[in-house]
Symmetry: D2
Subunit: 420 residues, 4 copies
């Protein structure tokens, strides 16, 4: 594994794009981050010191975690690093003190990819330029590759310590499924933080636009329902089966039929359904992964309650058991005016500024933001516009490399400005 | 791999039960069969000479076939045998001439297992006696382990050539999914056969009962529907998705709502549904495996047509594409009176005889039977009763070892009787 | 209302066909029957003496019963007859003693029509010949018009008393929905009956064929589910609604997805669904009428139990209430051999005899048959074949007038033969 | 019918509340309006001069229109008025010129009720005070009774002509189902109008609040789908049926599963489903009334297109025909700033003013507004807050009588102020 030149933000982004890793398995990514930050002189903590997802219902099964460790080793990550970062402990936190007093500013960069198979055609830049995903069925389809590259370039830009206060960089696992922030908060990574900023690429804004203050960062819960029915021969004894596939299919359709709520933004999606083994066997088991979202905590709670009712009634309808767990969550969040003001000032002359930008989406950065805000600090969620050839979470998604240096400069200026 | 003592029918059955292999991947099983038959002096053909499923829509993907070959090697099958039997070419056909003239009698033994995880508790005999499946998620839940053991013991019993005519043993892959018989027929294995008998264990009859003539051996088609929608971010751009998961769920529910047909036995089952990747992505792809069955060819054709209509309308409803293939099929079949008579005579004094037994199930032995019958021969489908602790295709299924020698004797007597 | 000439079986049938009446509202029909039987010298009982459906969950609402009475009066039925026969008390029972000793033979004739709008085109005989239904939306689409005409012509043929034993004619209301036989049994109309015969026209047999012994007369339950949700403005407050329409639609789909039972004939049908008031209001109420059938009492009970589970789970899924009642039922039944023998003898030379005929349908004559059989008598269910231009319960159904005299002769011979 | 004292706005409202009439059948209401306005000296046009809904797909069937005319006569409306206003021609338009020059101001008042059965309990004011609906199953559950009363009281208040310009009062039928405005626009009622104001009671605002400028007045289409399948006997010939009930149920569920659109407010509701005739008949016909809504014309068009796709695919799935018509529609609309300013000024000191109020609902006043705006005029949609014991379109809805005089004063001041 060639060491990264973190000042070449485009090259770093492309290296990461070619090696996407799913939530809690970002071992190669975290290892590269950890190594680079140490070389830049930052105080680095990683693994169990900054995240412990053991027992988290959103943690992948042991076999998946083991396979990830195996692959990381095969891709050249030293065994001691793999050991430290495996088991879902893929967070990295780095601190650096500025040369003069000031607040402690934390910046969040999420690292994980999605279980999507990237397209392969000449019109797709990663295909054309040879940095498409080398991990079949896994893809950076939400720009987190760019986030990590920006975070490392920022670390380089700040390594001269020419800024007030101190800076903490939070490299977070498993933002997809909103799983990674919660155990980082539990590990205390927001302790002593005065200002927290999370920035996200693209999100509907084109290249050349910066939005210092996103709105409609909405609450979400991710759920996993496991239906347990009874297998039987589909022709000889259909009445002896308890059909978990039909229970899950009925739940899926009726979850999508949950009503909108007046005056609120709500979302329900059943994103994965797996049931049964073969055409001639009544399906004895089924699994459903779904999410609910809302732009207020009250509506989010009521929507999650109703989803629960639908799933349990579907199980009852087919006389199956069902086990229902919440695998991840994020809350609704807002950007504090002082953070918006500082980011607006820092954007001056750099790009066009969009004063506000409604997201209608979720990020568990919201949990980090809330932790800081509840402790008396301020927080913000900003967008760095980027043209994308396909929508986020689609096989044609990609970010515009040209915006990466802009993002670095914007955050660098904001840190150095120090006017939160 | 210790050689089998094929005269110990129970030991052979238990060895096979511990090493179940899915359709078209029965390499270890076919290798054991081939080796044993050669040692007994039978003329043996195997692999491409007797089956060529290349291009068959029910053939597993190359990766699965390769993994099966790899496992067979790991379990001790010699490399040349693996090479001959891999790629789905897992059929074995053996001939032996009797010492006096007479008809050519073929007997069919199917070899494959099911994608079902066997129970593991002390009350389950395979657990108790240590021959439970060593292949996770795969299980002999339909008695084919017993069929192969009976076939080999019969080969031993006949090796003295003390019978009229000649005998052909057909060891068939992939009866589950009704896929294996068709390419064996295409390879000509029924050529010159005067009488064909297929026998199946259990099928609703208890130990101590033999049924020489099953009825309601029904026609079936197995189908695979692949829906192609469009992935999108479930919160940011739900309207840009084309939801393949909901298309498949709607198809599943409405396939099960297809009406019964007056005066006919019909069955529809959606046995497997896999869709989507994660809770926060609109599912862009889905796969549905289902079957239709009927006890007459006309009703079977109409039912399959209607299933097709439902699947295509579900795709249209969600504006997804859909690819629909028939992965396997069997026809309706009946036992010729002369075969029933010969088997009835052979059962005399051996067990209680049930003159007829309605199955309400399918077996692609029907395709072999039809090939023989259309060429002027006769055929029959017989049941060897066996107590079973759970229904067929369920995780608790097992056959009663005590009936295996009875089955061997029954078939041996029938062959030696020669009165077809 | 011109008096009927009951010896003109075709004219009577056509008069009744033109004036179809739904179950428990057969006032005009019962009045015509009562009047004609009295004129023929039979001892006639009617109304509350022979049926009392008060409180029966399958009784139409008072407004419907009142409208029926009003229409009967408008069509010329005398007020005292209307009074006697209204309120659902539309049964007529008539007795006549033969001139020599013998058993008491009861024959059942059902009188009600269906809520189906008859087709109106020149190819439809009732349209062509001017006896199509004059009651919009109601139609004799199951041949009960023919049954009543045959019953009356039989009464005329037997009025000379030239037969052994005694005869009781049972004119039954509300066979559709299997509601009318139960309260007749409760009123004691099977008391003292030695032999009971019910005959039905058509049922899949062509003109010129008689079947003395139907099989697969299957058990059924009719159910009414009333869902109570909460209305709300569909745009302003969708989340405040509790959607009874979707609860009912989900119940309907999943009731149809109930599995078949191995070795049994089963049927499920949701035949009527009414929900909601207007496009812009979340539906607060819904009503579902459905039936379950099976050819054995055990399977029928299990199937009805599962239907119950589905309906209640659908209500739970949408957080609505649900009220579920059984509005009618029939049991499985068989024809006693002695009855089959007598009917077979009586058919000699009259038409082609089909020894047995599987129905796969239900008739609450089965409750009368069971009452007689449990009291030590015998019973039978016979079919008089008739060509029909459309299937039963379809808008094109009609019976073949030519078979009506054959039916009369057959039953007359059987009664006179007296060899049960 | 006692003449109305239109200055007693509460009494008029209660008279109308007790006699609710569905869209296009508001004969009694329109007659009272017409009579009162003539008595006040306004120039009145009504019937075919101001609306002609003949051929409109949302017009009720002739039998319903006839029954409405019959009831109006029975309730005392003179025959000539009934004749003029029947056949759906229930609009009334009245003009009055002020005593000095100025713009022509039109005000819209809708008159129709909903097919909802009003609650009957002592806590419901209409029950308590004896003005609950006397028309079973019909109810003023959206405040239009109040609108008409306010319109008439305003007519009285303006009859002194002490205002600039001229005033046109538009009493509109069939706002529910958004059907009545279109034929009024077609009849030219907006000709020469400079300013159009529509005011609605309640809509989520409490008593004591006035909102001069509603937002999120969203586009909507109302649709009627009629499925034509094939009836058949549910037990004897289920396969011969084509199940329109299941087609409609599948359409209903999947219409509700249509996705939300990012950045838009969307609504889908299936509000009425009627299918089939009886439990033992496969349903041959079904009817579905549904609506789609969106806050932009583009999204509304796409949503309606997708609804169309779902309905047609459901028909295809069950091999039924389907006839799909748009029975009504409204567009998205906004209040012009000058109208908002005038209404704000007029509210001064009268009540608390809410500068803006998002509706998330539809009103075909939007078609009148668009007609005026496209001809160079201005328009506005205002809300008069009112406490309500239940949500709109629910059986407990009622308006607060106390706000009616406030509404009259507000509009009177706005007209007299004349500063549009």
């Amino acid at each position: 594994m060639t060491p990264l030149d973190v000042t070449d933000v485009v090259a770093v982004r492309r290296d990461l794009h070619a090696h996407p890793e799913l939530g809690f398995t970002e071992i190669r990514t975290a290892a590269r981050v950890e190594t680079a930050l140490r070389e830049l002189g930052w105080r680095v903590r990683s693994g169990a010191d900054v995240v412990d997802p053991a027992g988290h219902p959103g943690l992948p099964p042991a076999a998946v975690l083991d396979a990830a460790a195996e692959r990381a080793r095969a891709e050249g990550v030293p065994a001691d690093q793999v050991a430290r970062l495996s088991g879902g402990r893929t967070a990295v936190v780095a601190d650096l003190d500025g040369e003069r007093p000031g607040p402690r500013i934390a910046l969040r960069f999420d690292m994980d990819a999605l279980p999507i198979a990237e397209v392969d055609d000449p019109g797709h830049v990663p295909s054309r330029d040879g940095f498409a995903s080398r991990h079949p069925g896994v893809m950076h389809a939400c720009g987190h590759d760019g986030h990590v590259a920006v975070g490392l370039a920022l670390a380089a830009a700040l390594s001269s310590r020419d800024f007030p206060g101190s800076v903490r960089l939070l490299f977070q696992p498993a933002e997809e499924g909103v799983r990674g922030a919660e155990p980082m908060v539990a590990a205390g990574v927001t302790g002593g933080v005065d200002v927290l900023v999370a920035a996200h690429l693209a999100f509907g804004l084109p290249s050349g636009v910066l939005a210092p203050s996103a709105t409609e960062l909405i609450a979400t819960s991710k759920h996993l329902a496991r239906f347990t029915g009874r297998q039987a021969h589909a022709a000889k004894a259909p009445e002896q089966g308890r059909n978990a596939l039909l229970a899950a299919a009925t739940a899926a359709l009726n979850l999508h039929a949950l009503p909108p709520f007046a005056g609120a933004v709500t979302r329900v999606n059943v994103g994965r359904l797996e049931a049964g083994v073969a055409a001639n066997v009544i399906a004895g088991a089924a699994e459903l992964a779904f999410e609910t979202r809302a732009d207020s905590a009250d509506v989010a709670a009521e929507l999650a309650r109703r989803a629960d009712v639908v799933v349990k009634a579907a199980a009852q309808m087919y006389e199956t058991g069902v086990d229902l767990v919440r695998t991840g969550h994020a809350t609704a969040a807002h950007t504090d005016p002082s953070v918006a003001a500082a980011l607006t000032a820092a954007a001056d002359g750099l790009a066009q500024v969009r004063a506000t930008h409604p997201l209608g989406a979720s990020d568990d950065a919201s949990l980090l933001m809330r932790a800081v805000q509840e402790a008396g600090g301020v927080a913000g969620y900003a967008i760095v516009g980027s043209d994308t050839p396909g929508p986020p979470h689609s096989p044609r998604f990609d970010v515009d490399d040209a915006v990466l240096p802009v993002a670095v400069t914007w955050l660098e200026r904001a840190v150095k400005g120090g006017i939160w």
